[in-house]
Symmetry: C2
Subunit: 240 residues, 2 copies
Amino acid sequence: MNNKNNETIDTPTYENGEKMYVATDCIIFGFDDGILKLLVFERRVKPKQGELSLIGSFVSPNENVTEAAQRVLKEITGLENIFMEELKCYSNIDRDEGARCLSIAQYALIRIGEYDKQLVEKHGAQWYEIGKLPKLVYDHDQMVEDALERLRTKSRFYPIGIELLPKQFTIPQLQKLYEVIHQKQLDPRNFRKKVLSLKLLIPLNKKDKTGSKKGAYLYKFDYKKYKKLEEKGFNFSIFK
Amino acid sequence: MNNKNNETIDTPTYENGEKMYVATDCIIFGFDDGILKLLVFERRVKPKQGELSLIGSFVSPNENVTEAAQRVLKEITGLENIFMEELKCYSNIDRDEGARCLSIAQYALIRIGEYDKQLVEKHGAQWYEIGKLPKLVYDHDQMVEDALERLRTKSRFYPIGIELLPKQFTIPQLQKLYEVIHQKQLDPRNFRKKVLSLKLLIPLNKKDKTGSKKGAYLYKFDYKKYKKLEEKGFNFSIFK
DNA sequence: TCAAAAGTGTTGCCGGTACACCCATGG
DNA sequence: CCATGGGTGTACCGGCAACACTTTTGA
């Protein structure tokens, strides 16, 4: 047993490390009338003035990464307590030409009717439809691609899609959301049957008439019941 | 449109950020004769000398986080090209009392027969059975818990469990692995039927006699075929 | 009155689950 | 020869997929 050969591992003293800048970037999804959108931000200052980027910030000494992302999100949209999840750490050495800087990307799902439009405008942020997104700065394109992939895989087994809909929503709306996320047409009869069989939608006996003349019944998601089921290993899967 | 109110967001100049130490820690799983194990490491130096911790390192200026983790893994086990995936970034401000330091945890799945025993011993690392694990330093307990959770959820839909078995394995071995990971007894007849129906195991027409007198047929996993299926949205799920 | 979307029901089939017996072999 | 684990077959049932028609109502 000899300590000298492996000092870099056995002795993680701080002199061995080099400090780095740590940022967080938010991939903010919204769903508006059948269209999946992303909130991006036009840089008003150098470097890369005028180019599009995700919304982000450095992580301050007095906060952890999650708190930093929540702070940014609130500053830009006015929203708190929204669905946000860590995506991945981006750490390539040349990802930011200015200095060694890594970013922990987080993706957020927001109800597009609820954000503060004035705040968003003030920060030069705009919604872009997924698929019509221009080039973003640095590795932000990659982040968006990865976030989309995560949204697809995760929404297959967890009801996170609900976070993109208004708190009261109709079954056709929910179906449309799944179709857009998964790029796949679904049979409305089977979709309805499947969704209702899960017994996780609470009928509100109210109709939403914006989508059709007949109107569609509104539901809300039974979060409490879902939480209980989830603990027992239940999976909210719409697809087989 | 006014630039002055939002400089902290619109102008991510490096003066606004504070640099931090960035580390990576590896949660290394192994599967040995029906038992799921973790490779942990006894610290030989201060601080926290003699206590148990995960294997980790600071991220150097000339490498990204993945490379750092691969470096550590090779230094300790001699292994390269093994399954490793980012788990989560741990960034609480007081997680390391010495300095502001965040860690990007990665979990790795290794074939327990293949690592370099001498190297492991030299670094003071040892295998512990999951569930009989003593307290680890800092937030490493939390990392292990999160990694286990990830292993459970991910192995439900992706064949990552295979990474823990020898390259040639038997169906009873595979079943045992699933049982241990998911803490659940499975019916051997149904398990076999299900696994074979996926057509992803290549029979080797050889028997492994270490487990029984009769011997069990050996198989290997068809990675190429799986890759193709995965691209089409196929899911390797053993459970419903 | 009609176009457009919402809502309802049936059937066949595949796959999951439950369950019992024979096989091979080393000791 | 027998204990131990490995391997095979069947029958039932529930859930998924495919598919056509009626309802509502604003324009």
